[in-house]
């Protein structure tokens, strides 16, 4: 009869079957350790994958929703060149004085507001709100 010693099973893989079949022996932790090890590696792998790889887009189902408001804007970026002293502008070019404000991009159409009552309102001073 094999000794039901916990110290006797771990060092020799060839005796595992024998040890498992011994009645009254203490549960062998090797299998549990294997399962835990594999599970740990799998969890770590999944974690690393989730961190390193961004989630792929998920195909969505089209649902009947109100149409999302879309803003159509028109922008006027201004392209310009600075002429150095002595240079002449190209023929037909519009000439702007150097003291003119620096060109900026503006939006020439803002979205139409939704037709609903809004309580908070900004106005010119003295404006009577109906």
């Amino acid at each position: 009869m094999a000794k039901p010693s916990s110290a006797s099973h771990a060092g020799s893989p060839g005796r595992l079957d024998e040890l498992f079949q011994v009645p009254g022996a203490r549960p062998d932790p090797t299998r549990a350790r294997l399962v835990l090890g594999v599970a740990g590696i799998a969890a770590l792998s999944a974690l690393i994958t989730a961190i390193a790889v961004p989630p792929a887009p998920v195909a969505s189902t089209v649902v009947n929703m109100p149409t999302a408001p879309t803003m159509v804007t028109q922008q006027r970026p201004i392209v310009y060149v600075q002429l150095t002293p002595g240079q002449s502008p190209p023929p037909g070019a519009t000439v702007i004085d150097a003291k003119a404000p620096k060109p900026i991009t503006i939006v020439t159409r803002v979205p139409a507001p939704a037709q609903r009552a809004v309580v908070v309102r900004t106005t010119q001073s003295g404006k009577v709100i109906p």
Binding site: V81, V110, I129
Partner: protein, 326 residues
Amino acid sequence: MITAERPTRASRVACYSLPTLIVPLTVATTAMGGRLIVHLAAPAGDGRAKHDARRLLSRIGCWADRLSRHLEASELSALNADSRTRVPIGPTLAAALWAAREAADESEGFVDITLLDARLAAEGLSFAELAAGVRRSWSLESGPRRTAVVSRPPGVRFDLGGVAKGWLADRALVLLSSWPSAVVDADGDLSVRCRAGDTWAVALDDPRADGATLAIFHLSAPATGWSVQWGVATSGTSVHRWRRGEILHHHLIDPRTGAPARTDVVQATVVCGSALRAEALAKAAVIAGSTDGLALLERAGVKGAVILTESGETLALPQTLTLLAG
């Protein structure tokens, strides 16, 4: 010299999220020749909210009375009537005048509170024309207990105008610190605090038709973060205007000329971090005109700006689109 061309391209910005908007409890009164309103994110029947709002309005009303040039008993009227060049003033007027200096700096000099006589002359109420080259510089020295001493050239009189409204709105919002989402509306100049996750909808008035709305801003604070403070103000030439002979005048005086500004801007609205700054920049944009005004607002780093021009064109800085509700 600079050569320029102006190509046009279209871009699309889509808004897919519709935030839940605050439906506020609102308490209103009149002061400063206009409306004074407190909006709180509270249920309609909240007694504490009503009590706090009414108490605040009463206090703002007292401040406004000290800063009005229309009331003979106000601190401002007393200062304007004082013939001395150095005049001691109380804490409330001192705070408002410090705010006026800040507004002048923010607006690159377009906001100038020494133009009272020029405005009265434009209205035909005074014959004290603003002589070109007259020195109108003034200064403040701090005194004990938040008082101050004003130094100014003889004859210079002050009109706080929108500066007082912006300052009052910001100051009042501080007193509402127990309300995480609140708006103080000082005759169109708004000081807005928004709790994390909340969104205020603010309608921008369209001056071309009563009750019409030019745009709606959604002012919010990120769900995970601190509350955010906004300032929104509108200035323009279409409300306070009158005709003298053949010429149409308005109340916004250009400090460069001492006369009503010759501008293509009918109305400008600015969104930034405080009502005082928004008011100063909106007024500056109107006086400067659309081209120079938009450039000024760009330099100032505002969060949003919408300008309506005489030709009916609506112009905005690009960053404004993230604030506009579709």
